[in-house]
């Protein structure tokens, strides 16, 4: 199977991860998510000894809407997940990235390279990576790619 040669490096998204301040409200986070089409936001740390946090659409649905709270009054600090689930080995095989996600029950993993913020992977990145690998393999075999 072709996905054996796929590594974390080939699927990680290195463009800027949208961020949101700790003191912003949940409503601001929702607006930002919808505007960017990106359903997880990074919460920057205050100083070097602090940890990064993350807030996702699931945090908002389960911790704000389900509890009947007013999204304009709840702050990010109360609902974010902290610290992040991180991976540092860029040559990790794709299946272990998926396993790390499944085991920790998160949909976004942040990737650090030598202590610096490098990028992030979501379950969508993994599937896109596998899809592209599958298509490449079929093209190499000279088989016309037929969709179903």
């Amino acid at each position: 199977m072709t996905h054996e040669e796929l590594s974390l490096r080939s699927i990680v998204k290195t463009f800027e991860f949208p961020t949101i301040g700790q003191d912003a409200t949940a409503l601001e986070a929702v607006d930002k998510m919808l505007e960017k089409g990106c359903y997880s936001l990074l919460v920057p740390r205050r100083d070097r000894s602090d940890a990064y946090g993350i807030v996702t659409k699931k945090d908002i649905v389960t911790k704000v809407v389900a509890e009947g709270l007013d999204p304009a009054k709840v702050t990010i600090k109360e609902i974010m997940s902290k610290p992040l689930v991180i991976l540092t080995n860029l040559s990790l095989e794709l299946r272990w990235v998926a396993k790390a996600m499944a085991d920790s029950g998160v949909s976004t993993i942040v990737v650090f390279d030598k202590g610096d913020f490098y990028g992030f992977v979501t379950e969508k990145c993994i599937l896109e990576g596998m899809y592209n690998a599958m298509r490449r393999a079929r093209l190499e075999q000279g088989v016309e790619f037929v969709s179903c």
Binding site: Y39, A98, E123, L127, M130
Partner: protein, 134 residues
């Protein structure tokens, strides 16, 4: 806001229960969707749903060959269903939390109306805040 206002009535993309996960992946990517409705085989069967998360946490995480695994082995079946169209958005969010699902099928009596996803809830609260403030 009520469930009928936030529901996404677009037609979901379907997949046969006998297809492989590889086919499902192709169909998901080509239709740019993040879930597929798994058809039932007989009228007594239940519908199922296959999401990105099911593929990633099942066959991909276990290192299985996607073209050898059948959709039925990793789809969620039966669906999480709601049939009260005037339900408050808060109860919908509660249901998602309780069932650990991100998409809920909505039926009006016997008829399938559509799916409501966590993104639809976010859109609803954003809209409610804008409409309520001014």
């Amino acid at each position: 806001m009520e469930l009928r206002d936030i529901i996404n009535s677009g037609k979901p993309v379907r997949i046969s229960p006998d297809a492989t996960v590889g086919d499902a992946l192709v169909s998901m990517m080509e239709n740019k969707t993040d879930y597929l409705l798994v058809d039932r085989k007989t009228p007594n069967d239940a519908y199922g749903i296959l999401t990105r998360w099911d593929i990633v946490s099942g066959p991909v995480a276990h290192g299985e060959d996607l073209t050898a695994v059948s959709v039925l082995d990793c789809a969620r079946k039966p669906l999480v269903v709601l049939n009260n169209l005037s339900l408050d958005e808060r109860r919908v969010a509660r249901k998602m939390d309780a069932e650990n699902a991100s998409k809920i099928a909505v039926f009006d009596k016997e008829d399938f109306v559509g799916f409501v996803s966590d993104i639809d809830i976010l859109k609803a609260i954003s809209k409610a805040a804008k409409g309520g403030a001014r």
